[in-house]
Structures are given as C-alpha cells and as structure tokens.
C-alpha cells in the first residue's frame, strides 16, 4: 500500500509540475501525511524536495547600499499544514536571511503588528493561511505609508489620526452613590459598540482607503470607528458626544468617506467600518438639524 501511495507522487512531480497545482491542497497534504507516517526517510525527503511555498518579499533598507533600491526577494519555504504567511516570513528570516525585517508579536491576530499587503490585499499575516493564496505569494509593506525597512512602515500618521479623535472615556462624573459605584453599561449598548471595540490598530483599513491615500488629513476608517465606539457609548454625556461629533464633522472627517467599502473588506476583525462611518454622518446631520 505504501509504495502504491508513493509512486504516483514521485512520478508526477518531475514529469509535470503543473499537475501538482491541479490537486486540491487537502489531497496533497493527506498524501504527504500518509507517506510521512510510513517511514521517516521519506518524510525527510519530502522536507527536502517536498512541498514548498514560493514567497516574494519586498525588500528595502536605506542603510545598506545594495538594498536602497527596493526589490523583491524570493524564498522557498517548506510548507506545513496550517502555515500562515507570518510563519513563512519567520521561517525565511530564521533560516535564510536574518536581516529580513517585519513587525510581529502575538501571532494570533490580537496585537495588530503584522498587517502586510499580501497578494494585493491588506491582510494580517498571522491570520492568513498560505493554502488559501495563489503562489507566488507577494508580500509587501502596507501601501500609502512610508516604508522604513522591508515590511516595516511608519505608523506615525496612523497613530496621529487615531489620537485626534480623543480615544478615551471622558466622563468625569461617577454615578450617584445610591446607584452603583461602577459605571455599568446596558447589554444593549454594549452590543451596539461591540464590533467597533474589536479594533487592533493594525492600520489595514487606512492603508486600503483610496481617499486616505489622496487626502492626508482625512481621519480614516480606524480613527472614525474608534470615535464611534465612544460616541455611541451611553455612559458618556450628551455634551461629550456633541464634542466628539464636532471633531468628526470637520471637512476632513466623516464626509470624506466615499463608501467604497475597501476598509470593511480588508478589516481582519470584521468590523463594519463603512456602516459605522455612515451612522456617524447621519448622527452629525441630525445633531445639526436640531439647532435649526
């Protein structure tokens, strides 16, 4: 049985490498697993000439003469089931080129450090399965941000916009003593802001936004979403909500959003960004109509 399983694999590969692509990744992995379980030697073989993923990584380093002109480097990384794009670049860095630079930390889509431009889309590298991507996988730094080195971009402007909406709870008043001493939020209200609170500041949305690319002063989806989280929180007073809306209704605030849905499509935490921006537009209009 073992030889039967192995034979087509070894025959096929040199003859027609394209045939491998026609097989479903699952079939391939199953075959590999089975052959690997049989004897260790063939496993090693598979490791050597077995399945690899071809990644093309953007390289740039102003301090190294040969890298001042941006280029793409090719890496062939041995594939393992469940491997993410981040795993692949970590492997490439650890095994091939220790100067390959990128941000990463938690590796589980919580810290928001590793948003890259992968195959033409802003994605979180640790949350993107290699098996879902077409090869070669093109890995670039986030567009519309200055590249500091390799996959590292300058997030300064993004953070400035995030801070511009005053992303912190501002109500000084504590509830009356007869009530509770904690500021409880109703479950309904919590539900309302639930999605907006999932933001991990990865910057994918801002990078995908066509308008933010052209208009540097535009607050951008992440910052507006952050403002939404606080503006919609019932525990803050009406005055503070109005203050928040005044920040958002400036010329470069919510009105610049052209509802292209790019941000909503790339958000790794599935935040309905466009929906939130639209709601804030309506809130701002409503608030202003009240004074008329």
């Amino acid at each position: 049985m073992s030889t039967q399983q192995q034979e087509p694999e070894t025959q096929e590969a040199p003859e027609d490498p394209e045939m491998k692509g026609a097989q479903s990744p699952q079939d391939r992995r199953l075959a590999e697993k089975e052959s690997g379980a049989i004897d260790e030697e063939s496993e090693k073989k598979a490791e050597l000439e077995g399945e690899t993923v071809h990644i093309k990584v953007f390289r740039y380093d102003p301090e190294v003469e040969g890298k001042q002109e941006p280029r793409f480097d090719d890496f062939h990384v041995p594939f393992e089931k469940g491997m993410t794009v981040l795993d692949a670049v970590i492997y490439a860095r650890d095994e091939y080129d220790s100067s390959l630079t990128f941000r990463h930390s938690c590796r589980q889509a919580v810290c928001g450090s590793d948003a890259f431009f992968i195959n033409g889309k802003q994605r979180l590298a640790c949350k993107t399965q290699l098996s879902e991507l077409e090869q070669p996988v093109r890995i670039e730094p986030l567009p519309h941000q200055e590249v500091v080195k390799d996959l590292v971009v300058d997030m300064g402007h993004f953070y400035d916009q995030m801070h511009a909406v005053e992303p912190y709870f501002q109500d000084e008043d504590t509830p009356e003593v007869s009530d509770l001493e904690e500021q409880h939020q109703s479950p309904e209200n919590r539900e309302k802001i639930k999605m907006s609170s999932r933001c991990i500041w990865c910057g994918a949305c801002m990078s995908s936004c066509n308008i933010a690319a052209g208009d540097n002063q535009y607050l951008g989806p992440a910052a507006i979403n952050k403002a939404y989280k606080f503006a919609m929180d019932d525990r803050e007073s009406e005055e503070i909500k109005e203050h928040r809306l005044r920040i958002l209704e400036q010329e470069h605030g919510v009105w610049r959003c052209q509802t292209q849905f790019s941000c909503t499509e790339v958000c790794p935490k599935d935040i309905p960004l466009t929906e939130h921006i639209q709601e804030l537009k309506r809130e701002a209009v409503k608030k202003n109509l009240k004074f008329w």
Binding site: G214, E249, W255, K281, N288
Partner: protein
Amino acid sequence: MAERYSSFVPGGTAWLLQRITAAFLVVVLAFHFFQLHFVNHAADVTFQGTQARMSNVGYFLTMVLFLIAGAFHGLNGVYNALVNQGLDGTPKKVVLAVLTIAGVALVVQGTYVALAMAGWT
C-alpha cells in the same frame, strides 16, 4: 477665511444637500429623458413645441429647479472629487471660487434660456 463658529459645519450641509439634490435629480432626470426621447423625440423638437412645454409655469419651475439642483450637485461633486485627491490651501480656494462662478453663470444663463423658450423675455 475666518473660522465659522456656527454649529452647522459647511461639510455636513454640503453633504446633506448633495443627497437631497440627488434624490430630486433621480426623479427629474428620468422624467426629462423620458419626456424628450420617448414621449417626444429629440429629433422632432421645434421651438413651438418647446414653447408649449416651457410656458407651463409648473414645468418652467421644475426645469429651473432641475438646473439649479444639477449645477449644485455636479459642481459640488467635482469639488469633492478634487478635495478627495488632496486639494488644499490656495488652489482649493481658487477652485471653489471658479466652480461657484461657473455654477452661478450656468444657472443665470439657463434661466434666461428658459425664459426665452417660454416667451417671457
């Protein structure tokens, strides 16, 4: 320009007006196309026919409002497109002035044309 301290910020006003004119234009533009290409064919337009339509006060007012809404919606759209591209500072003010003048001129000229069509000049 001096800072406006009104609670009604221009950005929001323009945004709302853009939507209101849009809703109006959808209806009137569809009507206009239907009226002059399907009910009456554009090739058969004569001054007499035009005058017969335009001398109806309701039609005249609709058409003038159509023109004003169209001019605002179109030129505000152009302005927004340019601001989205990052137009800023003095060029932005110049563009706004030019578009405003063009819009006013268009509305004035168009209204004059409509009056001539109705035979009220």
